[in-house]
Subunit: 201 residues, 2 copies
DNA sequence: ACCTGGGGGTGACACCTGTCATGGTGCGCC
DNA sequence: GGCGCACCATGACAGGTGTCACCCCCAGGT
Protein backbone atom coordinates (compact mmCIF):
# COMPACT_ATOMS: atom_id res chain seq x y z
CA UNK A 1 0.00 0.00 0.00
CA UNK A 2 1.63 3.24 -1.16
CA UNK A 3 0.96 6.14 1.19
CA UNK A 4 0.23 9.45 -0.61
CA UNK A 5 0.12 13.11 0.35
CA UNK A 6 -1.80 15.59 -1.84
CA UNK A 7 -0.90 19.28 -1.97
CA UNK A 8 -3.07 21.55 -4.13
CA UNK A 9 -4.61 24.89 -3.30
CA UNK A 10 -7.97 24.07 -4.90
CA UNK A 11 -9.95 22.00 -2.42
CA UNK A 12 -12.22 20.57 -5.08
CA UNK A 13 -9.34 19.35 -7.21
CA UNK A 14 -7.59 17.99 -4.13
CA UNK A 15 -10.62 16.06 -3.04
CA UNK A 16 -11.31 14.80 -6.53
CA UNK A 17 -7.74 13.55 -6.96
CA UNK A 18 -8.03 11.81 -3.61
CA UNK A 19 -11.19 10.07 -4.78
CA UNK A 20 -9.51 9.06 -8.01
CA UNK A 21 -6.38 7.66 -6.38
CA UNK A 22 -8.21 5.94 -3.54
CA UNK A 23 -9.99 3.86 -6.16
CA UNK A 24 -6.68 2.09 -6.81
CA UNK A 25 -6.30 -0.84 -4.48
CA UNK A 26 -2.60 -0.34 -3.89
CA UNK A 27 -2.77 3.39 -3.17
CA UNK A 28 -4.06 5.29 -0.16
CA UNK A 29 -4.20 9.03 0.48
CA UNK A 30 -2.99 9.67 4.03
CA UNK A 31 -2.86 13.48 4.03
CA UNK A 32 -4.18 16.51 2.12
CA UNK A 33 -2.99 20.10 2.44
CA UNK A 34 -3.83 23.34 0.64
CA UNK A 35 -0.65 25.29 1.29
CA UNK A 36 2.99 24.70 0.42
CA UNK A 37 4.23 25.49 3.89
CA UNK A 38 2.11 22.79 5.48
CA UNK A 39 3.47 19.92 3.43
CA UNK A 40 6.59 19.12 5.45
CA UNK A 41 4.81 18.74 8.79
CA UNK A 42 1.96 16.76 7.25
CA UNK A 43 4.39 14.46 5.45
CA UNK A 44 6.28 13.83 8.70
CA UNK A 45 3.17 13.15 10.70
CA UNK A 46 1.38 10.99 8.15
CA UNK A 47 4.37 8.94 7.08
CA UNK A 48 3.64 9.60 3.40
CA UNK A 49 5.88 7.89 0.87
CA UNK A 50 4.98 9.94 -2.21
CA UNK A 51 3.92 13.62 -2.27
CA UNK A 52 1.90 14.98 -5.17
CA UNK A 53 2.71 18.69 -5.35
CA UNK A 54 1.05 21.47 -7.29
CA UNK A 55 3.50 24.25 -8.21
CA UNK A 56 1.38 27.30 -7.60
CA UNK A 57 0.33 27.29 -3.97
CA UNK A 58 0.20 29.88 -1.21
CA UNK A 59 3.07 29.72 1.29
CA UNK A 60 5.65 27.80 -0.70
CA UNK A 61 5.70 26.71 -4.33
CA UNK A 62 5.78 23.00 -5.12
CA UNK A 63 9.35 23.39 -6.35
CA UNK A 64 10.45 24.83 -3.02
CA UNK A 65 8.59 22.11 -1.19
CA UNK A 66 10.36 19.42 -3.23
CA UNK A 67 13.69 20.90 -2.20
CA UNK A 68 12.59 20.99 1.43
CA UNK A 69 11.49 17.38 1.33
CA UNK A 70 14.75 16.20 -0.21
CA UNK A 71 16.66 17.91 2.58
CA UNK A 72 14.44 16.96 5.50
CA UNK A 73 12.82 13.66 4.51
CA UNK A 74 15.04 12.04 1.91
CA UNK A 75 12.98 8.86 1.89
CA UNK A 76 9.90 10.71 0.61
CA UNK A 77 9.55 11.11 -3.17
CA UNK A 78 7.99 14.18 -4.83
CA UNK A 79 5.82 14.15 -7.91
CA UNK A 80 5.03 17.56 -9.38
CA UNK A 81 1.47 17.78 -10.73
CA UNK A 82 0.86 21.13 -12.36
CA UNK A 83 -1.26 23.01 -14.85
CA UNK A 84 1.65 24.53 -16.71
CA UNK A 85 4.13 22.52 -18.72
CA UNK A 86 6.65 25.30 -18.90
CA UNK A 87 10.00 23.97 -20.13
CA UNK A 88 12.03 25.61 -17.38
CA UNK A 89 9.77 24.15 -14.71
CA UNK A 90 10.80 20.61 -15.59
CA UNK A 91 14.47 21.37 -15.22
CA UNK A 92 13.96 23.25 -11.99
CA UNK A 93 11.73 20.50 -10.62
CA UNK A 94 14.37 17.85 -11.26
CA UNK A 95 17.09 20.11 -9.86
CA UNK A 96 14.94 20.55 -6.77
CA UNK A 97 14.89 16.82 -6.27
CA UNK A 98 11.48 15.94 -7.65
CA UNK A 99 11.17 12.39 -8.91
CA UNK A 100 8.49 13.14 -11.46
CA UNK A 101 6.68 15.83 -13.42
CA UNK A 102 3.14 15.43 -14.70
CA UNK A 103 0.88 17.98 -16.40
CA UNK A 104 -2.73 18.29 -15.34
CA UNK A 105 -4.07 17.41 -18.73
CA UNK A 106 -2.56 13.97 -18.92
CA UNK A 107 -5.25 11.26 -18.90
CA UNK A 108 -6.47 10.41 -15.42
CA UNK A 109 -5.66 6.72 -15.76
CA UNK A 110 -1.96 7.49 -16.17
CA UNK A 111 -1.63 9.27 -12.87
CA UNK A 112 -1.73 6.15 -10.74
CA UNK A 113 0.95 4.56 -12.91
CA UNK A 114 3.13 7.64 -12.54
CA UNK A 115 2.74 7.38 -8.77
CA UNK A 116 3.74 3.72 -8.79
CA UNK A 117 6.78 4.34 -10.95
CA UNK A 118 7.90 7.21 -8.75
CA UNK A 119 7.44 5.04 -5.68
CA UNK A 120 9.57 2.37 -7.31
CA UNK A 121 12.41 4.86 -7.59
CA UNK A 122 12.02 5.74 -11.26
CA UNK A 123 11.90 9.19 -12.79
CA UNK A 124 8.64 10.10 -14.54
CA UNK A 125 8.60 12.98 -17.00
CA UNK A 126 6.23 13.62 -19.87
CA UNK A 127 8.38 12.75 -22.92
CA UNK A 128 7.32 15.69 -25.06
CA UNK A 129 7.87 18.05 -22.19
CA UNK A 130 11.32 16.63 -21.48
CA UNK A 131 12.35 17.21 -25.09
CA UNK A 132 11.02 20.75 -25.02
CA UNK A 133 12.87 21.35 -21.79
CA UNK A 134 16.16 20.29 -23.32
CA UNK A 135 15.59 22.44 -26.40
CA UNK A 136 14.85 25.57 -24.41
CA UNK A 137 18.07 25.35 -22.45
CA UNK A 138 18.85 27.16 -19.21
CA UNK A 139 17.81 30.72 -18.50
CA UNK A 140 20.08 33.34 -20.08
CA UNK A 141 18.86 35.93 -17.60
CA UNK A 142 21.04 37.11 -14.74
CA UNK A 143 19.60 36.98 -11.23
CA UNK A 144 18.81 40.68 -11.19
CA UNK A 145 17.27 40.67 -14.62
CA UNK A 146 14.94 37.86 -13.59
CA UNK A 147 14.08 39.69 -10.38
CA UNK A 148 13.27 42.89 -12.24
CA UNK A 149 11.25 41.02 -14.86
CA UNK A 150 9.20 39.37 -12.12
CA UNK A 151 8.31 42.81 -10.81
CA UNK A 152 7.41 43.89 -14.35
CA UNK A 153 5.05 40.94 -14.85
CA UNK A 154 1.92 42.86 -13.90
CA UNK A 155 2.77 45.86 -16.06
CA UNK A 156 3.91 48.17 -13.28
CA UNK A 157 5.58 51.38 -14.46
CA UNK A 158 9.36 51.61 -14.16
CA UNK A 159 9.11 54.00 -11.23
CA UNK A 160 7.20 51.43 -9.15
CA UNK A 161 9.63 48.66 -10.04
CA UNK A 162 12.56 50.87 -9.09
CA UNK A 163 11.02 51.60 -5.71
CA UNK A 164 10.25 47.94 -5.08
CA UNK A 165 13.76 46.85 -6.01
CA UNK A 166 15.51 49.80 -4.31
CA UNK A 167 17.20 50.76 -7.55
CA UNK A 168 17.35 53.84 -9.72
CA UNK A 169 14.97 54.03 -12.65
CA UNK A 170 17.88 54.05 -15.05
CA UNK A 171 19.23 50.78 -13.73
CA UNK A 172 15.81 49.18 -13.94
CA UNK A 173 15.48 50.29 -17.53
CA UNK A 174 18.89 48.84 -18.33
CA UNK A 175 18.01 45.48 -16.81
CA UNK A 176 14.70 45.46 -18.65
CA UNK A 177 16.42 46.41 -21.88
CA UNK A 178 18.84 43.49 -21.42
CA UNK A 179 15.97 41.12 -20.68
CA UNK A 180 14.07 42.34 -23.72
CA UNK A 181 17.11 41.66 -25.85
CA UNK A 182 17.69 38.18 -24.43
CA UNK A 183 14.06 37.14 -24.83
CA UNK A 184 13.79 38.49 -28.36
CA UNK A 185 10.86 40.62 -27.27
CA UNK A 186 10.21 44.26 -28.03
CA UNK A 187 8.41 45.44 -24.90
CA UNK A 188 8.93 44.50 -21.29
CA UNK A 189 5.44 43.04 -21.13
CA UNK A 190 6.26 40.66 -23.93
CA UNK A 191 9.64 39.85 -22.40
CA UNK A 192 7.95 39.05 -19.09
CA UNK A 193 5.45 36.75 -20.81
CA UNK A 194 8.17 34.94 -22.76
CA UNK A 195 10.36 34.46 -19.69
CA UNK A 196 7.35 33.31 -17.69
CA UNK A 197 6.31 30.81 -20.32
CA UNK A 198 9.79 29.29 -20.36
CA UNK A 199 9.93 29.04 -16.60
CA UNK A 200 12.78 31.52 -16.29
CA UNK A 201 11.18 33.44 -13.47
CA UNK B 1 -30.04 8.73 -10.85
CA UNK B 2 -28.90 12.17 -11.95
CA UNK B 3 -27.05 12.11 -15.28
CA UNK B 4 -24.01 14.43 -15.39
CA UNK B 5 -21.78 15.89 -18.09
CA UNK B 6 -18.30 17.17 -17.19
CA UNK B 7 -16.56 19.86 -19.24
CA UNK B 8 -13.04 20.87 -18.19
CA UNK B 9 -9.94 21.28 -20.30
CA UNK B 10 -7.64 19.53 -17.85
CA UNK B 11 -8.06 15.81 -18.34
CA UNK B 12 -6.73 14.95 -14.91
CA UNK B 13 -9.16 17.25 -13.13
CA UNK B 14 -12.00 16.01 -15.30
CA UNK B 15 -11.24 12.39 -14.52
CA UNK B 16 -10.79 13.11 -10.85
CA UNK B 17 -14.12 14.94 -10.63
CA UNK B 18 -15.75 12.01 -12.39
CA UNK B 19 -14.29 9.63 -9.82
CA UNK B 20 -15.47 11.87 -7.00
CA UNK B 21 -19.02 12.24 -8.29
CA UNK B 22 -19.40 8.61 -9.29
CA UNK B 23 -18.86 7.69 -5.66
CA UNK B 24 -22.28 9.18 -4.92
CA UNK B 25 -24.96 6.55 -5.34
CA UNK B 26 -27.49 8.92 -6.90
CA UNK B 27 -25.12 10.48 -9.43
CA UNK B 28 -23.60 9.13 -12.63
CA UNK B 29 -21.25 10.77 -15.10
CA UNK B 30 -22.51 10.03 -18.61
CA UNK B 31 -20.16 12.23 -20.65
CA UNK B 32 -16.83 14.06 -20.40
CA UNK B 33 -15.46 16.64 -22.82
CA UNK B 34 -12.37 18.83 -22.89
CA UNK B 35 -13.60 21.62 -25.16
CA UNK B 36 -16.45 24.08 -24.90
CA UNK B 37 -17.61 23.51 -28.46
CA UNK B 38 -18.16 19.80 -27.86
CA UNK B 39 -20.55 20.17 -24.95
CA UNK B 40 -23.79 20.67 -26.86
CA UNK B 41 -23.45 17.56 -29.01
CA UNK B 42 -22.29 15.45 -26.08
CA UNK B 43 -25.16 16.66 -23.93
CA UNK B 44 -27.66 15.81 -26.66
CA UNK B 45 -26.26 12.38 -27.26
CA UNK B 46 -25.78 11.37 -23.65
CA UNK B 47 -29.05 12.73 -22.35
CA UNK B 48 -27.29 14.58 -19.52
CA UNK B 49 -29.46 16.41 -17.01
CA UNK B 50 -26.81 18.61 -15.38
CA UNK B 51 -23.67 19.99 -17.04
CA UNK B 52 -20.67 20.99 -14.94
CA UNK B 53 -18.85 23.65 -16.94
CA UNK B 54 -15.41 25.16 -16.44
CA UNK B 55 -15.23 28.74 -17.70
CA UNK B 56 -11.84 28.75 -19.36
CA UNK B 57 -11.90 26.13 -22.10
CA UNK B 58 -10.74 26.03 -25.71
CA UNK B 59 -13.48 26.47 -28.30
CA UNK B 60 -16.17 28.12 -26.20
CA UNK B 61 -16.13 29.47 -22.66
CA UNK B 62 -18.37 27.88 -20.07
CA UNK B 63 -20.49 31.04 -20.06
CA UNK B 64 -21.10 30.80 -23.78
CA UNK B 65 -21.90 27.12 -23.44
CA UNK B 66 -24.46 27.84 -20.72
CA UNK B 67 -26.18 30.27 -23.08
CA UNK B 68 -26.12 27.70 -25.86
CA UNK B 69 -27.60 25.03 -23.62
CA UNK B 70 -30.42 27.28 -22.46
CA UNK B 71 -31.33 27.98 -26.06
CA UNK B 72 -30.95 24.47 -27.49
CA UNK B 73 -31.66 22.15 -24.56
CA UNK B 74 -33.78 24.06 -22.07
CA UNK B 75 -34.27 20.97 -19.91
CA UNK B 76 -30.55 20.69 -19.16
CA UNK B 77 -29.20 22.68 -16.20
CA UNK B 78 -25.74 24.28 -16.13
CA UNK B 79 -23.48 24.49 -13.10
CA UNK B 80 -20.38 26.64 -13.55
CA UNK B 81 -17.34 25.20 -11.77
CA UNK B 82 -14.39 27.54 -12.07
CA UNK B 83 -11.07 28.53 -10.56
CA UNK B 84 -11.82 32.22 -10.47
CA UNK B 85 -14.49 33.75 -8.27
CA UNK B 86 -14.53 37.01 -10.18
CA UNK B 87 -17.53 39.09 -9.22
CA UNK B 88 -18.60 39.84 -12.77
CA UNK B 89 -18.47 36.16 -13.69
CA UNK B 90 -21.31 35.33 -11.31
CA UNK B 91 -23.57 37.92 -12.83
CA UNK B 92 -22.71 36.91 -16.36
CA UNK B 93 -23.14 33.25 -15.53
CA UNK B 94 -26.63 33.81 -14.17
CA UNK B 95 -27.50 36.06 -17.11
CA UNK B 96 -26.31 33.29 -19.42
CA UNK B 97 -28.79 30.95 -17.84
CA UNK B 98 -26.53 29.00 -15.49
CA UNK B 99 -28.33 27.48 -12.51
CA UNK B 100 -25.32 27.54 -10.22
CA UNK B 101 -21.83 28.89 -9.66
CA UNK B 102 -19.20 27.06 -7.63
CA UNK B 103 -15.54 27.92 -7.10
CA UNK B 104 -12.90 25.22 -7.34
CA UNK B 105 -11.75 25.66 -3.81
CA UNK B 106 -15.03 24.84 -2.15
CA UNK B 107 -14.81 21.59 -0.15
CA UNK B 108 -15.21 18.49 -2.29
CA UNK B 109 -18.11 17.14 -0.24
CA UNK B 110 -20.24 20.16 -1.12
CA UNK B 111 -20.07 19.63 -4.85
CA UNK B 112 -22.46 16.68 -4.91
CA UNK B 113 -24.96 18.70 -2.87
CA UNK B 114 -24.67 21.58 -5.28
CA UNK B 115 -25.38 19.23 -8.16
CA UNK B 116 -28.46 17.84 -6.40
CA UNK B 117 -29.82 21.28 -5.64
CA UNK B 118 -29.29 22.43 -9.20
CA UNK B 119 -31.01 19.31 -10.48
CA UNK B 120 -33.92 20.05 -8.18
CA UNK B 121 -34.35 23.42 -9.89
CA UNK B 122 -32.70 25.58 -7.25
CA UNK B 123 -30.07 28.24 -7.80
CA UNK B 124 -26.71 27.56 -6.12
CA UNK B 125 -24.29 30.42 -5.65
CA UNK B 126 -21.49 30.78 -3.12
CA UNK B 127 -22.97 33.32 -0.63
CA UNK B 128 -19.81 35.39 -0.22
CA UNK B 129 -19.34 35.52 -3.93
CA UNK B 130 -22.94 36.57 -4.51
CA UNK B 131 -22.54 39.48 -2.09
CA UNK B 132 -19.29 40.57 -3.73
CA UNK B 133 -20.97 40.36 -7.10
CA UNK B 134 -23.74 42.71 -6.01
CA UNK B 135 -21.26 45.18 -4.51
CA UNK B 136 -19.14 45.37 -7.64
CA UNK B 137 -22.10 46.29 -9.82
CA UNK B 138 -22.28 45.99 -13.58
CA UNK B 139 -19.43 46.90 -15.87
CA UNK B 140 -19.11 50.64 -16.56
CA UNK B 141 -17.13 49.91 -19.70
CA UNK B 142 -18.68 50.35 -23.13
CA UNK B 143 -18.48 47.44 -25.55
CA UNK B 144 -15.59 48.93 -27.48
CA UNK B 145 -13.66 49.88 -24.38
CA UNK B 146 -13.91 46.30 -23.14
CA UNK B 147 -12.87 44.98 -26.52
CA UNK B 148 -9.81 47.23 -26.65
CA UNK B 149 -8.89 46.38 -23.05
CA UNK B 150 -9.02 42.69 -23.88
CA UNK B 151 -6.50 43.28 -26.63
CA UNK B 152 -4.35 45.26 -24.20
CA UNK B 153 -4.33 42.43 -21.65
CA UNK B 154 -1.00 41.01 -22.77
CA UNK B 155 0.74 44.36 -22.89
CA UNK B 156 0.70 44.79 -26.66
CA UNK B 157 1.73 48.26 -27.87
CA UNK B 158 -1.01 50.60 -29.07
CA UNK B 159 0.02 50.10 -32.69
CA UNK B 160 -0.64 46.35 -32.50
CA UNK B 161 -3.98 46.86 -30.77
CA UNK B 162 -5.00 49.38 -33.42
CA UNK B 163 -4.17 46.93 -36.20
CA UNK B 164 -6.02 44.09 -34.48
CA UNK B 165 -9.12 46.22 -33.93
CA UNK B 166 -8.97 47.97 -37.33
CA UNK B 167 -8.88 51.36 -35.64
CA UNK B 168 -6.57 54.34 -35.65
CA UNK B 169 -4.04 54.62 -32.87
CA UNK B 170 -5.66 57.80 -31.65
CA UNK B 171 -9.00 56.10 -31.15
CA UNK B 172 -7.40 53.21 -29.34
CA UNK B 173 -5.66 55.61 -27.01
CA UNK B 174 -8.92 57.41 -26.36
CA UNK B 175 -10.70 54.18 -25.47
CA UNK B 176 -7.82 53.09 -23.26
CA UNK B 177 -7.78 56.47 -21.58
CA UNK B 178 -11.49 56.15 -20.85
CA UNK B 179 -11.01 52.63 -19.49
CA UNK B 180 -8.13 53.79 -17.30
CA UNK B 181 -10.37 56.50 -15.89
CA UNK B 182 -13.28 54.17 -15.23
CA UNK B 183 -11.15 51.54 -13.52
CA UNK B 184 -9.30 54.06 -11.37
CA UNK B 185 -6.02 52.77 -12.77
CA UNK B 186 -3.10 54.78 -14.05
CA UNK B 187 -1.74 52.57 -16.81
CA UNK B 188 -3.54 50.38 -19.32
CA UNK B 189 -1.87 47.30 -17.85
CA UNK B 190 -3.35 48.06 -14.45
CA UNK B 191 -6.72 48.89 -16.00
CA UNK B 192 -6.71 45.58 -17.82
CA UNK B 193 -5.91 43.68 -14.63
CA UNK B 194 -8.63 45.48 -12.67
CA UNK B 195 -11.25 44.91 -15.34
CA UNK B 196 -10.19 41.29 -15.67
CA UNK B 197 -10.38 40.68 -11.93
CA UNK B 198 -13.91 42.07 -11.85
CA UNK B 199 -15.03 39.96 -14.76
CA UNK B 200 -15.65 42.97 -16.98
CA UNK B 201 -13.91 41.44 -19.96
C1' DA C 1 -36.25 69.61 -33.92
C1' DC C 2 -33.34 69.16 -30.05
C1' DC C 3 -30.25 67.00 -26.82
C1' DT C 4 -27.53 63.16 -25.16
C1' DG C 5 -24.26 59.50 -25.54
C1' DG C 6 -21.41 55.98 -27.94
C1' DG C 7 -18.26 55.49 -31.54
C1' DG C 8 -14.40 57.09 -34.64
C1' DG C 9 -11.00 60.47 -35.61
C1' DT C 10 -7.16 64.40 -35.40
C1' DG C 11 -3.67 67.21 -33.31
C1' DA C 12 -0.96 68.84 -29.55
C1' DC C 13 1.48 68.36 -25.24
C1' DA C 14 3.80 66.29 -21.20
C1' DC C 15 5.56 62.29 -19.68
C1' DC C 16 7.17 57.50 -19.80
C1' DT C 17 10.06 53.89 -22.08
C1' DG C 18 13.63 51.55 -24.68
C1' DT C 19 18.23 52.16 -26.34
C1' DC C 20 22.87 53.46 -26.28
C1' DA C 21 27.30 55.37 -24.70
C1' DT C 22 29.91 55.88 -20.83
C1' DG C 23 31.73 55.24 -16.12
C1' DG C 24 32.43 53.16 -11.84
C1' DT C 25 32.58 49.09 -8.45
C1' DG C 26 33.39 44.47 -6.92
C1' DC C 27 34.18 39.53 -7.83
C1' DG C 28 36.24 35.30 -9.65
C1' DC C 29 39.87 33.49 -12.55
C1' DC C 30 44.06 32.62 -15.35
C1' DG D 1 48.12 42.11 -12.06
C1' DG D 2 44.94 41.94 -15.91
C1' DC D 3 40.74 40.18 -17.78
C1' DG D 4 35.88 39.40 -18.11
C1' DC D 5 31.43 39.91 -16.23
C1' DA D 6 27.59 41.18 -13.39
C1' DC D 7 25.88 45.12 -11.29
C1' DC D 8 24.63 50.07 -10.47
C1' DA D 9 24.32 54.49 -12.24
C1' DT D 10 23.88 58.86 -15.29
C1' DG D 11 22.69 61.41 -19.39
C1' DA D 12 20.82 61.93 -23.90
C1' DC D 13 17.69 60.82 -27.58
C1' DA D 14 13.80 58.75 -30.38
C1' DG D 15 9.65 56.91 -30.09
C1' DG D 16 5.63 55.24 -27.44
C1' DT D 17 1.92 56.51 -24.16
C1' DG D 18 -1.77 59.11 -21.48
C1' DT D 19 -4.49 63.22 -21.55
C1' DC D 20 -7.17 66.78 -23.44
C1' DA D 21 -9.67 69.76 -26.64
C1' DC D 22 -12.21 69.52 -30.50
C1' DC D 23 -14.18 67.63 -34.71
C1' DC D 24 -17.65 64.39 -37.23
C1' DC D 25 -21.53 60.83 -37.65
C1' DC D 26 -25.41 58.31 -36.02
C1' DA D 27 -29.07 56.25 -32.98
C1' DG D 28 -32.43 57.08 -29.23
C1' DG D 29 -35.22 59.93 -26.21
C1' DT D 30 -37.81 64.14 -25.21
Amino acid sequence: MIRLLLADDQALVRGALAALLDLETDLTVVAQVGRGDEVLAAARESGAEVCLLDIEMPGLTGLEVAEQLRAELPGVRSLIVTTFGRPGYVRRALDAGAAGFVVKDTPARELADAVRRVHAGLRVVDPGLAAESLMAGPSPLTVREAEILRLALDGSPVAAIARAAHLSQGTVRNHLSAAIGKTGASTRAEAARVAQSRGWL
